[in-house]
Amino acid sequence: MNPVIEEFPLLLQGVAVTLQISVLVIISGSIFGLFGGLGLLYGPSWLRALLRGYVDIVRGLPLLITIFIIFYIPPALDIEVSGFAAVTVALSIFAGAHISEIVRGAVASVSRGQNDAAKALGLTFWPRIWNVILPQALPAIIPPWTNTAVEMVKGSSLAYLVSVSELLFQTYKVVGRTGAAMPLYIAAALLYFAINLALSRAGVLLERRIRYTT
């Protein structure tokens, strides 16, 4: 157990980077996903086709391939990309595609009558979406959204492969130095588990709150 306690500060540095990537990705992915999902439903046909292509391509590719494409191709065109930037952008694109589908499904499941009623009250498009449709779609969005957020925390471990010192890479380095593989990998697993458990619990609490007010 000793190496885990001694090296804990280094693991925590890794946790900080993991959290940094995850928070950035969840925020930007949610923004992409919100507009992507609405665009898939209400956009003009060229936008719908474009978004459909984006969502289907990203969801058909392994996340690691998306990361490598963004990490390796721009430098070949003389655009500098750091590992951190590549991973954050790739995960955001990935999360955006998944959340687009979640938002699309949830918004489509709100009954048409709600939209018609809001129209009859004279609400224009954005107030209609923002005040009438989205609040009713939210309870259906939160649980799969939480799953995507958990997937993103797990996905941030792929940053190891482009040499970003997130939790897995830090653990790997410490194992290389101390040789205490078993306790350190278990400690890393518990740290990931703790982060994701907190995230899932937060999702459940949020969902419960929202269900009561609507």
Binding site: A76, G155, F193, L197
Partner: protein
Amino acid sequence: MFGLNWDSLWRHREEFLSGLALGLKLALIGLALACVIGLLVAFARTSRHQWLRIPAASYVEFIRNIPLLLILFFLYFGVPMWAFSVLPRGLADILVLDGENTTIVALAIYGGAYLAEVFRAGILGVGRAFIEAGRSLGLSGLQIARYVTLPIMVRTVLPSLGNTFISLFKDTSLAMAIAVPELTFVTRKFVTDTFQFIQAWTVAGVLYLVTTYALAALLRFLERRIRWTV
């Protein structure tokens, strides 16, 4: 095309395709083992006995919340190091797996946790009347599981099984981290040898996309073909 040189890529086509085939093979064996784990865990989770339910639920929750890459590292670097320092030599040798087998075991453990949830939903979806009918025929708990619950459940979980296969196939790309020569590994090696970043990653991406969509189409076709008589 696009002023890029595609010749050397074409000359290495067999490596790329065998990388793709290796990924499919690993995913398929991983899925088969994951089904076994998933079934056992799902029945344990729906059991009457707490000593079965709690470990099964813990397994599912824990594995679903940690990254697959960490499981791979744990099995590939962690377990051998520990085995050689603690266990007698003969026993330790058994636990040391090569890259491909490590990937299969990791996919089985990881996929098993997801399939356990799928199977559990399938088990809970079997109507009470079927179970009661089985009981009134005098079947034991195990017999009910084998002859009543399982055949009915299989029909409902089949689509999810296909999706799990596709996502396990995509997950085989992580095996590159432990030097398994699947498609991503082959591509990265090719790129470091030739510096043809754009061509190689585009081709890898297209190969993955075509394969995942072909698999999805095939599975949908099979689903429609299989007409179950309930």
